[in-house]
């Protein structure tokens, strides 16, 4: 059985093209769906574009959402590098968000920095648990991360934020419940007036470049990919595979935790009582559509971010914003079966379809 990356992405030899194709196809499908339901699809898409790109405000919204999606997507992509399927980005993101919200309440110097670090550490620990279970106890990471997600969701939302860490006075009313607000010094600065664009966007971009450099240009990054390509072979050539897996999971969790910190320190400024992010699950979509690479993930994060920012405008033509999620799901469905694309891609390149390699 070939390794995870080969199984998922093998036929799409060119991840960036695959990502672009899947995104275009899913947009076309949803365009058709709107048109078929008797609504004005061109007007809807014009509204969508206006909501995502027209002016400082919309561009800022797109950037804010892109940043969170990018970090969550990188989290999943980093785990792919060592051959692990981290479905737990949501849980890691939630712990990161909580850590940022709690540390951000304190009046200490450099509180923003400490909050970000705490978020990364919290996400990292939660992911390490899955890495440890995989390496030491042989528990498949898909199952353990799914379970850990729900442990985190229920513990944080149903207990910690509602009970021990609830802001004083935020009692029965869910709408105001949540933790106390973080101090203004812990807010991510917003350099442009009239736009919610914050420093988190630039942080996410810098991290993306760093992750790309690390995984493709360093010895350790090479070792990670070697473990992902074949654990036994890597071990035979002297790479401690178990350690590398745990390291990658730690980084993966840290990135998801930072995504959570961006949500809290950039937008919410507290851990709200009702906080249904789903960004961790979206991160899986970003990494899958992006072909597990940094640039493909960045492209996917940008398109999905723009879709979410623009989708709020769709209500004007009577289309619910869940349209953005629908398009995203379709894109994943399309990349899920790269073999559908294979003949098409091959034809685009002007040669006949290669014979698919056997899976067994």
């Amino acid at each position: 059985m070939p390794d995870l990356r080969a199984r998922i992405f093998a036929p799409a030899k060119d991840p960036l093209w695959g990502a672009a194709l899947a995104l275009l196809a899913s947009l076309a499908l949803s365009f058709a769906a709107i048109a078929l339901s008797g609504r004005d699809a061109p007007a809807g898409f014009a509204d969508l574009a206006a909501g995502a790109f027209d002016g400082r405000g919309p561009l800022g919204e797109t950037a804010v959402k892109t940043a969170v999606l990018l970090l969550a997507g990188l989290s999943v992509a980093v785990a792919f590098a060592v051959g692990l399927f981290n479905i737990g980005a949501e849980g890691q993101l939630i712990w990161g968000a909580l850590a940022a919200a709690l540390v951000g309440r304190s009046q200490v110097p450099f509180v923003l920095l400490w909050s970000l670090l705490a978020a990364a550490a919290a996400g990292s620990l939660w992911a390490l648990l899955a890495g440890w279970l995989k390496v030491r106890r042989g528990v498949h990471e898909v199952i353990s991360t799914i379970l850990l997600n729900w442990v985190a969701i229920h513990l944080v939302h149903g207990w910690l934020v509602a009970g021990p860490f609830a802001a004083p006075g935020s009692g029965a009313e869910v709408s105001v419940a949540g933790t106390a607000r973080v101090v203004p010094a812990a807010w991510l600065p917003r350099p442009i007036a009239g736009s919610r664009l914050d420093a988190g966007f630039f942080l996410a971009l810098a991290i993306a470049v760093a992750v790309w450099l690390f995984t493709t240009r360093t010895v350790r990054g090479f070792e990670w990919r070697a473990v992902g390509a074949g654990r036994e072979a890597a071990e035979a050539s002297g790479i401690p595979a178990g350690r590398r897996i745990c390291e990658a999971m730690a980084l993966s969790g840290a990135l998801a935790g930072l995504a959570g910190a961006l949500l809290i320190l950039g937008t919410e400024h507290r851990y709200p009582g009702v906080f249904r992010t789903g960004y961790g699950f979206d991160g899986i979509a970003v990494a899958l559509v992006g072909g597990g690479g940094v640039w493909g993930s960045a492209l996917a994060a940008f398109v999905f971010g723009a879709l979410r920012a623009g989708a709020t405008r769709l209500q004007l033509v009577g289309i619910h914003p869940s349209f953005a999620e629908l398009t995203q799901g379709l894109a994943v469905l399309l990349v899920a079966a790269p073999r559908i694309f294979q003949p098409l891609l091959a034809r685009l390149r002007g040669r006949s379809a290669p014979i698919p390699a056997g899976d067994a």
């Binding site: 059985m1 995870l4 199984r7 998922i8 339901s37 399927f85 479905i87 279970l133 106890r137 528990v139 498949h140 898909v142 199952i143 353990s144 799914i146 379970l147 850990l148 997600n149 729900w150 442990v151 969701i153 229920h154 513990l155 944080v156 939302h157 149903g158 207990w159 910690l160 509602a162 009970g163 021990p164 789903g278 699950f281 899986i284 979509a285 899958l288 289309i319 619910h320 869940s322 349209f323 953005a324 999620e325 629908l326 398009t327 995203q328 799901g329 379709l330 994943v332 469905l333 990349v335 899920a336 079966a337 790269p338 073999r339 559908i340 056997g358 899976d359 067994a360």
Partner: protein, 288 residues
Amino acid sequence: MNLILDFAPPLVFAALGGVLSERAGVVNIGLEGMMRFGAFAAAAGAIFTGSPWLGLACGALAGAGAAAVHALLSLRFRADQVVSGIALNLVALGLVTYLLQAMFGSPGVSPEAPALPRDRFGHSALAYAALLAPLLFHVWLRWTPSGLRVRAVGEHPRAAATLGVRVLPLRALCVLGSGVLAGVGGATLSVGLLGQFDSRMPAGQGFMALAAVVFGGWTPLGAAAAAFFFAAGDALQRQLSFSLHAADLRLEGIFLALPYALTLAVLALGIGRARAPAADGVPYDPEG
């Protein structure tokens, strides 16, 4: 006890669906999405036809339809089974909300749907079906030739193939059956319990069913027992917060997290030697 018979059936049906698919060697992360389609289609079907039973049938069909996509992607196009399941969940999340808004004009809840009739103890027929189904499933899987074939393609598909079992069609059939069961589980939530569809359904129940499958060691009786156990925990939690005014303690989250934490502990400690079917999640290539 009454509460347990209310909470357990959706979990039991979905968990049995998970067992069916995974014993045939196809990982089913898409249970949550299949339940969501089932819950919505059941409510919509019941509203349009006026009959909750036809609604239930719609729910089962919708679950099967969603499962057909999973089967097509993972078996015909040999997509990764985990990815295909995740894609299904994502599509279910967006598409059902979209349809809810398009058909009933509200993104929150559907109008009231006719609910299944209840007996004098307040249970619908589905509650009793949930008690009976695991036993029938167990007998079928364990003692019949077709049950043996299903287990064979999940443990060693190539060996089954050499004995003349057509692996991929049988796996596809099991995935479809899994979708029917998950769809019925979802329908139990909407036309069985609440009498309408809520856009938050099934609120993680599909994943809890998945935990029950693992906790129960991939067996029908084990998974059903785990589902009842989880439902009992939920019922206990509600009783406690009702009678002790423990709502102030905010223990709800701890109780809800317990099933998942316990399942993790069982896996980590290797209690009971629970083991996934050998070929679970491994794509089968008839020519390879």
